[in-house]
């Protein structure tokens, strides 16, 4: 499909909605801002719905569907490594102990990216067909 007028319109709506929402938050103490916040959220939702409606018009793409569960597991492992680092800072107060827990958590996150997520996003890669 490539770029079209409908894409341009939906992106414009998206920007207007986002701006209105932010204006509503920034000046929340005024009545007009509260209206802008609600109106902006509605416009934002309309734009996202519009973008979703025109997505199929693009046609076949080179990106292929990948297993969602495996991607989710990868995301959990990556985030979990970070959370372990934060938890480890309060498990011990010694520099050496915190060094060990931080390195372990950091490595777990890297493993999540390299050995769970990377295979997940290439499971049904176009070049495998």
């Amino acid at each position: 499909m490539a770029a079209t007028k409908s894409q341009g319109s939906q992106f414009t709506l998206f920007m207007v909605g986002l701006t209105a929402v932010c204006a509503g938050i920034a000046f929340f103490d005024s009545g007009v801002a509260k209206v802008a916040l609600i109106a902006g959220a509605v416009v934002l939702a309309i734009s996202l719905w519009g973008l979703f409606k025109i997505k199929p018009l693009e046609g076949k793409t080179g990106g292929t569907p990948q297993p969602a569960v495996m991607k989710l597991i990868g995301v959990v492992v990556v985030a979990g490594g970070w959370l372990f680092v934060l938890f480890g800072l309060h498990m011990t107060s010694s520099v050496g102990g915190r060094m060990v827990t931080s390195i372990i958590g950091f490595v777990v996150s890297l493993i999540g990216i390299c050995y769970v997520l990377a295979p997940a996003v290439n499971k049904n890669a176009i070049w495998k067909s």
Binding site: M1, C22, G62, G63, T64, V78, R98
Partner: protein, 552 residues
């Protein structure tokens, strides 16, 4: 003779009173030494008639006559001179920060040339346009909300007048200590943040943010839908970058690891190896994973095909533009050239140059010795890798440390490019993930090793007294803080970007159609070829076969 006696006493009393008044008046009129000096300076200052004859040597211009006087009746006073000194300090720092910020803005041109040069000619317009439009998308998003999230609680910078209106940070309390999460004032730069100092810091931080955003366009070039790029960039400028930026630079929890947990001076990142480059590189990795490789990049057996860029001259000239702009990136991060250790700007600039130099050696020599040729594109990536790596430690290390950090980055980027392509099977046309992600993380870690404890930016850093010092100079806890920063980049920033762009892929689709990709994105996406008068060479056979094999 009573009357003459009364008159005599009255006259004597009057004389006494007059004498007393004279004494008081004389005391009031007695000039201090400083006032006398000011008066004598005023007396010898050039007159208007002298200045009317011209001042070719510059010896008459800029004198005590140019100091504004608060009370014209009282004349020039010490208070006037002190106020002018304060103004001068702030003005010097404003000019320094703004001019270096302008240099960083110019780096957008460098990024555009590097990325477009490494892509095929049929995608040149699209690639240039992504780098052009990302400036607009990021700036607007940052103005409406991003700056507030990042810097809304960053008050206290003495270089720029205090920034006291940036005084609201959202805190959470965990284990008895307060942790900053995001700022809450500065949206649209309105109300109390309509302030001269805030304008300066906004411009400076904004151009850094745009650098992070533009990194992603390189990794996703040649198949990223322009609409998806625009939406993704707006959201990155509004949320992803500012969140981590607040934690590192806006008074957030990462910077407070020293104050709260005794980990060195907290997470340190002088100019943004982590905040800018690793955020950009890891977001690039996330989006590249979601978007998938270019058609024809990998063969059925997983081996990679080299897809050659169309303009190596643009690549190398772009690298020089980036290296030039980096003189704004690193030295500018002092946020001033007057007071509080800011005279270290020369050291920072030299560290920046040296790291780029040794990194180029590292990459070029590695390619020459191992692969047999001094590869131009990898040499360009090499200098960038060194500049990325030195960005964080530039304000804290010696030239020796800078040279070592740069050389390691130059070799590291070669290994990383091969690893990302051959083992992770992630297609990155320009090496953005390796240059900015991998070397950005290395830059963050290198502070924990090489910071030498000689810097002095006002006697403290992140609220902890003393100088930033790494493991090799006696402080292992600084390395722990840096590792926590790296873990946050990988564990939070990457995850956040991956999930956000995954949702965007579900809603609007990140990738162009196969027909568009094979034909080149210029005409279908942008409506115009990058080089309309060029004759395209035919595509290799495997590219033409790819469309028939597509299963999406």
């Amino acid at each position: 003779m009573r009357i003459p006696r009364i008159v005599t006493w009255t006259c004597a009393l009057a004389i006494l009173l007059m004498a007393g008044a004279a004494i008081v008046a004389r005391a009031d009129a007695a000039p201090s030494a400083s006032a006398a000096e000011l008066k004598s300076a005023l007396a010898v200052a050039p007159t208007t008639s002298a200045l009317a004859n011209g001042d070719p040597g510059g010896v008459l211009t800029g004198t005590v006559n140019d100091v504004p006087v608060a009370d014209p009746k009282a004349g020039l006073g010490l208070g006037d001179v002190a106020n002018q000194v304060g103004q001068n300090k702030i003005a010097i720092n404003f000019v320094w920060t703004l001019v270096t910020g302008f240099l960083v803005m110019f780096m957008q041109a460098g990024f555009a040339m590097v990325e477009a040069g490494l892509c095929r000619v049929k995608n040149a317009n699209h690639t240039y346009m992504m780098n052009f439009f990302v400036y607009t998308c990021g700036l607007f998003a940052y103005w409406i909300i991003g700056f507030a999230i990042q810097m809304g609680g960053a008050a206290g910078n003495g270089n720029l007048g205090g920034l006291q209106s940036l005084n609201t940070e959202h805190l959470i309390t965990l284990f008895g200590t307060h942790w900053g999460i995001f700022g809450e004032c500065g949206m649209f730069l309105a109300r109390s943040t309509y302030d001269v100092g805030v304008m300066v810091i906004f411009l400076f931080e904004m151009v850094f943010m745009d650098t992070a955003l533009t990194i992603v366009t390189g990794a996703c070039a040649e198949r990223w839908k322009f609409l998806a790029f625009a939406v993704s960039s707006v959201l990155m400028g509004a949320f992803t970058y500012p969140l981590y930026g607040n934690w590192a630079w806006g008074g957030g929890w990462l910077s407070q690891l020293g104050v709260n947990l005794g980990l060195g001076k907290g997470y340190c990142d002088f100019a943004g190896s982590g905040v800018v480059h690793a955020v950009g590189g890891l977001t690039a990795l996330a989006v590249a994973m979601i978007i998938g490789p270019r058609i024809g990049k990998f063969n059925r057996d997983g081996s990679a095909n080299a897809i050659i860029g169309h303009d190596i001259s643009a690549v190398l000239i772009g690298c020089f533009i980036l290296a030039f702009g980096w003189f704004g990136f690193n030295p500018g991060s002092t946020l001033g050239a007057s007071a509080a250790g800011n005279l270290r700007i020369g050291s920072i600039a030299v560290n920046t140059m040296l790291a780029g130099c040794t990194a180029t050696f590292g990459a070029l020599l590695y390619m020459w010795v191992v692969k047999g040729k001094p590869d131009a594109s990898m040499s360009g990536n090499g200098i960038l890798a060194g500049l990325v790596a030195i960005t964080a430690p530039s304000g804290f290390v010696s030239t020796m440390g800078a040279a070592i950090i740069g050389f390691i980055a130059g070799v590291l980027v070669c290994f990383s490019c091969a690893f990302v392509e051959n083992y992770l099977k992630i297609d990155d046309p320009v090496g953005a993930v390796s240059v900015h992600g991998t070397c950005g993380l290395w830059g963050v870690l290198s502070i924990g090793f090489f910071a030498d404890g000689t810097s002095n930016y006002g006697g403290s850093w992140n609220g902890v007294t003393g100088s930033v010092t790494g493991l090799f100079y006696g402080d292992a806890s600084q390395l722990v803080a840096q590792i926590v920063g790296c873990a946050t980049l990988v564990g939070f920033v990457f995850t956040f970007s991956f999930v956000l762009n995954w949702i965007l892929d579900i809603i609007l689709g990140q990738r162009v159609s196969i027909a568009t990709e094979v034909a080149g994105l210029d005409l279908p996406e942008m409506g115009q070829l990058g080089y309309p008068e060029f004759v395209f060479k035919p595509e290799p056979d495997f590219m033409l076969a790819a469309e028939k094999l597509a299963v999406a």
